[in-house]
């Protein structure tokens, strides 16, 4: 494997999995308590605002994971590092699941708030495209048998799909959309009250830990596959 010693990584990831699971459950419990009970209602949306504490972190994580996969894929494509491709592959399932959660919770929030389950506005459509790219990426891993071509094809899918990422981010600023613009701004004050920002941040941490946990499980599975079936089986 060159860069890393596979069995050492296997031992380490296996050991930390339990700690991350416990830590995740702790953070999730605090997050849910804060999101569902301790945080206030919104002046306009009432209790529907609580959907946001699942929706926004899911959307952030799905975008973050796709960017990470694309970044790793660029390195893989140029430097042919096989270990990085297994890392990229192992992140994809949780990224896909969080994209679906963001779409579904957005829809559930949209019905009582906007008055519609779905709107073909720029933000929602580009998020759907992100979901389709995740699906394409995961399917490509299953379809192509040849080791060299599967690495190239999946890398290219994630790199091409990454062009969509800034479009998702800035869609609400570039065009009129039904979706509201970002409440959390880097350069100026956020337009979200502190009491609502806290559960949002805790839930984001919980979802990030969950992604890490699923990643480690998937990564270990991939390593076992390589061990038992040889390096050809990526």
């Amino acid at each position: 494997m060159g860069l890393f010693n596979q069995s050492k990584i296997f031992l380490l990831t296996n050991k930390y999995q339990k700690f991350i699971l416990i830590f995740f459950l702790l953070v999730l419990s605090v997050g849910l308590l804060e999101a569902l009970f301790l945080s206030p209602q919104d002046y306009l949306q009432g209790d529907s605002v609580r959907i946001m504490y699942v929706h926004v972190p899911s959307a952030w994580i799905s975008l973050g994971i796709f960017s990470l996969i694309a970044f790793l894929s660029i390195l893989v494509f140029i430097f042919k590092n096989r270990n990085l491709i297994i890392i990229a592959k192992s992140f994809a399932p949780s990224g896909f699941v969080f994209t679906l959660i963001a779409l579904v919770t957005g829809s559930i929030w949209g019905k009582p708030t906007w008055g519609t389950w779905w709107a073909w506005d720029a933000r929602i459509t580009t998020m759907l495209i992100l979901g389709l790219f995740y699906l394409m990426y995961l399917l490509a891993w299953r379809i192509f048998e040849d080791r060299n071509s599967v690495v190239k094809i999946t890398s290219l899918i994630s790199i091409i799909g990454a062009i969509n990422i800034p479009i998702i981010k800035f869609s609400v600023d570039w065009w009129n959309t039904l979706h509201q613009p970002s409440s959390i701004k880097i350069l100026s004050d956020s337009s979200i009250h502190e009491a609502m920002l806290l559960p949002l941040i805790i839930m984001t941490a919980a979802f990030a830990l969950f992604s890490l946990l699923i990643f480690l499980m998937k990564y270990n599975t991939e390593l076992i596959k390589i061990k038992t079936k040889g390096l050809n089986r990526l």
């Binding site: 919104d42 002046y43 008055g115 519609t116 009129n176 337009s191 979200i192």
Partner: protein, 138 residues
Amino acid sequence: MYGKKVKLRALFLITLILSLTLIVFLVLYSLKENVVYFLSPTEIKTLNEVKKDKIRVGGMVKKSSINIINDEIIFIITDFQNEINVTYSGLVPNLFQENKGVVAEGFLEDKNYFKATKILAKHDENYMPPDLNKKKDE
């Protein structure tokens, strides 16, 4: 430092990303008017012709402009530069209120008069507890 192949692969990726980004940019730029979900009253005023197609108008519900006559709701959408009169009969979402964002879907009768077939409330990016909002109003 790196092999020739590595440099070629890097060059390939750069040209791929660059060309695709340019294509996406061109497509989105030329489709600008169709990518927007709704037009503002000002954009309606500057239309060359009143189209028969279904369109969406968005903006703020003008303060104390909501009138309910029989089953019809009549209100004014404003973007603080121009206004448009909207009539609609049917259910409106809970968040449909004065001084709040709205998107109306329907047909233009002329540049000042819009017959809506569907009303969507547009939520803004502000989130706050109820008592805080009362304080702000006072």
